[in-house]
Amino acid sequence: MTTAETAIRISDLTVRYGRKTAVENATLTVDRGSVYALLGRNGAGKSSLVRCLVGQQKPTAGRIELFGEDVWKRRAALMERVGVVSEEADAPPEMRVAELARFGASLYSRWDQPAVDDRLRRFGIPSKAKYGDLSKGQKKQVSLALALAPSPDLVILDDPTLGLDVVARKALFEEVIAELADRGITVLLTTHDLAGVETIADRVAILRDGRLVLDEEMEALKSRFRRVRFASQPVAFGGGNLQTAAVRAWGAGTEAVVSNYDELAFERFRSASNIAAAEIAPLSLEEIFIAVTGEGAQS
């Protein structure tokens, strides 16, 4: 893939805090115009990776490029093209929303104030309100409105649904992010709202204990994961061609999450194992995530 087609390129990224490794040898690329979901449990290293991604933290090793430029060296210039919604509510609490907008307008070469006003109106946030007086969800909404005002080419959303109610979450995914995707703006988001992200993400990556254990297109991911239940008898999966992400007892039989499901291969496995009947079902992103990162997950 050429630099012109790549919005984000992360190569061998490692972040350490003393002896603790937060991110280890992560390598990924995000195509322009795609929606990329970075998933992981709490403490998996998502925020460390995002801080490095926006040039706020120097990685212990590795390199990050946005639009082909080193983000650590060219952060200030690159931020003209990047809208960031941080995990923490980081705006000064004493400032009013309108003041925050004016401050932002004085820093960017492009600033769409009507779009800011429109979004704030839709979110129901008065511009005279002090940032510190807003709820957690409203703070996220203000941050989002401000991040989108300079018409960025890349939007990085670090847990944007934190504190949002169900309606606001739905609106975020179905209206805001979908609209960005429609306009060809690259979006990278981290979130725990897997149902929300499932419908809009083009590609998904999962971090587990700082290591990138999965990074692929959403459709391909969902097509290769299946839940397989054998109700009548216990089944041993070792030695076959099927790879399992999780296996557990299910009644008198066995339940397994197969991570490389293929009809032909499964039929071969079934006949070889003398199994009469099996129940096969697709998995939601949430189920895949649990299978990959949960307690019973197999590396």
Partner: protein, 648 residues
């Protein structure tokens, strides 16, 4: 730059409540005049005082809070990403925040202070110095405090173990700076100390500014990395500043004798070729350097300069040991430690363990093992150097001149008025073994003041009396040095004047008699018998500059006015009563006056410290050989001015 201003404006806008508080505080001094307590004050004075206190408190408080919250608080609360997520350079973030903090720290107190000062007018007085310097000190102090607060806030909030290294380095700097300043302080280089202190303060502010810029650029939103970046840049800049200061101090305190040009002073040992030389070197500010200098070899030992300026250093009888008083740190300015320097040895000072006021009369025994001094409270002490303990301490009312007759016997001479126009020289001896003072004699004469000296062997003394406007009735008396019993008395003769009498080593009295502007050297034996007379030439006064072996004298005659020509110097044959030859006319420095009244023994090959208009040199009057010691030029600051400044 414009983005820095945007950030500064935002930071100031966020803290606008500070200015509202300042406006409210500005009214308080005027309200204070309504208090019953204020009735004893003028309204202007009350407003000025209250305004000053409030402004000072506000400035210092804002400096502490502003410094702590400038970067450290936002780092700890993870709010610095607000700036980093925007297209703003690290330098703009830092300098914008710094400019806003400095503006708030200076402007808010000004809101309180300016109305008060305008109202107070001339009534406003500071406790010392001018108003502007007080305002400047407050402004600089506030900025310094802001910087300190920023550093401490960053270090503490980072929760990094690096703080231990910072603490160790801060303690090391805390020790290094006084050690660096001390030699300057001992050399009374007050201006240099002030400039170095100001320079280090400026370097500190610069280090925080550079360190802060690097902290934001390299540390960004990472607390520990931010701490490390600030720490690294700060200590690098401070390290360079300290090294430069140390190098400058090392250069200032290391002039050679030949570098000395200003405020020169020379004292010669009574015997031998060592002299004390003190003064300042050009471009080394006001540091007063001091040396014990051997005129025969050019070898020198550094000694405390101000000690020499105050003539509180002295040589041992043989001129081979120097006694120096050096100011002690953390004590009263007059308190000094007494050091002995073996000049013929390695020249390393030996701390005697004795402390004494620099004004206290002090003498060293001929064997260099005992020191006698009379402190300002009137206690006379004999101190044993090897054992570092006092052998005897007794009360002694007068300010004595003294010498050790033997290691156990100290002879004391003290002058006092016994009646109107009558002077009394009291002679006493302190026996170290019995710890008792015994009066052994006294000598009285008419006059308003006396000078006296004792022969090198301590057996005879010469007393010269003065009346207002000239000689006393007995201008020269030779007496027994222990009992004061008169041996020879020179009586004032009508139409003549005695000037600069000297008791020679063989007991002969040299009396220069001035009659009608003509000087005649008269040599008297015991009882006042005139042995010889030598006409010398025209002049106002004459004195013996040196006594040589073989009854030879170096005598200088000073003219009454410069219009009458240059001083004349002669080599005289005292025994033969003739001028051997006329010598170069050089200004000669006097002997170490010290507290030991004994004259030096005759020298075979004397080297005299002399001066011309442009240099100080050593001079052998017998061979005419001259060697350069130091340069010399007159500058605007007179020696009296230097003394006045040092006394302050």
């Amino acid at each position: 730059m414009s983005k820095a201003l945007v950030i500064a404006r935002r930071e100031i806008a966020e803290k606008k409540f500070v200015f509202l508080t300042a406006v409210a505080a500005a009214i308080l001094p005027f309200l204070a005049t309504l208090l019953p307590l204020a009735r004893n004050w003028s309204r202007q004075g009350m407003v000025a005082m209250t305004g000053s206190i409030l402004a000072t408190g506000l400035a210092l408080g804002l400096a502490v809070v502003g410094g702590a919250s400038m970067i450290g608080r936002e780092l700890a609360e993870r709010r610095l990403s607000f700036y980093f997520a925007r297209p703003v350079g690290a330098a703009s973030i830092w300098f914008g925040k710094l400019a806003a903090s400095v503006f708030i720290v200076l402007a808010a107190p000004a809101i309180v202070l300016v109305p008060a000062l305008l109202f107070a007018g001339d009534q406003w007085r500071t406790f010392g110095g001018g108003q502007w310097s007080a305002l400047g000190a407050l402004a600089l102090g506030s900025v310094l405090l802001l910087c300190i607060s920023h550093m401490v806030s960053t270090f503490v909030r980072s929760r990094s173990m690096l703080v231990v290294i910072d603490f160790v380095l801060a303690v090391a700097a805390g020790f290094a700076i006084p050690m660096m300043i001390r030699p300057l302080w001992n050399g009374m280089a007050v201006n240099t100390v002030t400039w170095i202190a100001a320079g280090l303060a400026a370097a500190f502010v610069l280090a925080v500014i550079i360190g802060g810029a690097w902290q934001v650029a390299d540390g960004r939103t990472d607390r520990k990395r931010s701490h490390a970046a600030l720490s690294r840049a700060f200590w690098l800049v401070m390290g360079i500043a300290l090294l430069c200061s140390a190098a400058y101090v090392a250069w200032v305190v290391s002039p050679k004798p030949s570098d000395i040009l200003r405020q020169l002073d020379v004292q010669s040992a009574k015997e031998g070729n060592w002299i004390f030389l003190s003064g300042q070197a050009p471009h080394r500010s006001d540091f007063v350097a001091g040396f014990a200098y051997d005129m025969s070899s050019g070898r020198y030992v550094r000694v405390n300069g101000p000690s020499l300026v105050f003539h509180s250093g002295t040589f041992s009888r043989d001129g081979k040991t120097a006694l120096i008083r050096e100011q002690l740190p953390n004590t009263r300015p007059t308190q000094t430690s007494v050091l002995l320097i073996p000049l013929e040895g390695d020249g390393k000072p030996i701390d005697t363990g004795l402390t004494a006021d620099w004004r206290a009369p002090i003498v060293l025994s001929d064997d260099g093992r005992r020191i006698a001094y009379r402190d300002v409270t009137g206690i006379l002490t004999v101190y044993d150097v090897p054992s570092k303990r006092s052998l005897v301490s007794v009360r002694f009312a007068g300010w004595p001149q003294m010498f050790f007759v033997s290691p156990d016997v100290l002879r004391l001479y003290s002058v006092g008025d016994s009646a109107a126009h009558e002077q009394r020289l009291k002679i006493e001896e302190l026996d170290v073994r019995t710890k008792a003072i015994l009066q052994t004699g006294e000598l009285r004469t008419q006059g308003d003041g006396v000078l006296f000296s004792v022969s090198p062997d301590g057996s005879k003394l010469l007393l010269r009396s003065f009346a207002k406007g000239g000689n006393g009735t007995e201008p020269a008396i030779v007496a027994d040095a222990r009992t004061g019993q008169r041996i020879t008395t020179v009586v004032q003769e009508e139409g003549s004047r005695v000037s600069g009498a000297a008791l020679l080593a063989d007991g002969t009295l040299f009396v220069p008699v001035v009659r009608n502007g003509q000087v005649t050297a008269r040599f008297l034996g015991d009882g006042g018998t005139v042995l010889r007379e030598v006409p010398l030439g025209r002049g106002e006064r004459a004195y013996v500059a040196a006594e040589l072996t073989g009854n030879r004298l170096i005598v200088s005659i000073a003219p009454a006015t410069p219009a009458e020509g240059a001083p004349k110097t002669y080599l005289l044959d005292a025994a033969g009563g003739r001028i051997i030859r006329t010598l170069d006319s050089l200004g000669l420095f006097g002997d170490d006056p010290g507290s030991d009244p004994r004259r030096g023994a005759p020298q075979a090959q004397p080297l005299l410290a002399a001066m011309t208009r442009t240099e100080v040199l050593s001079w052998n009057p017998l061979t005419g050989e001259k060697k350069h010691i130091a340069g010399r030029y007159q500058d605007k600051e007179s020696r009296k001015d230097l003394l006045d400044r040092l006394m302050r």
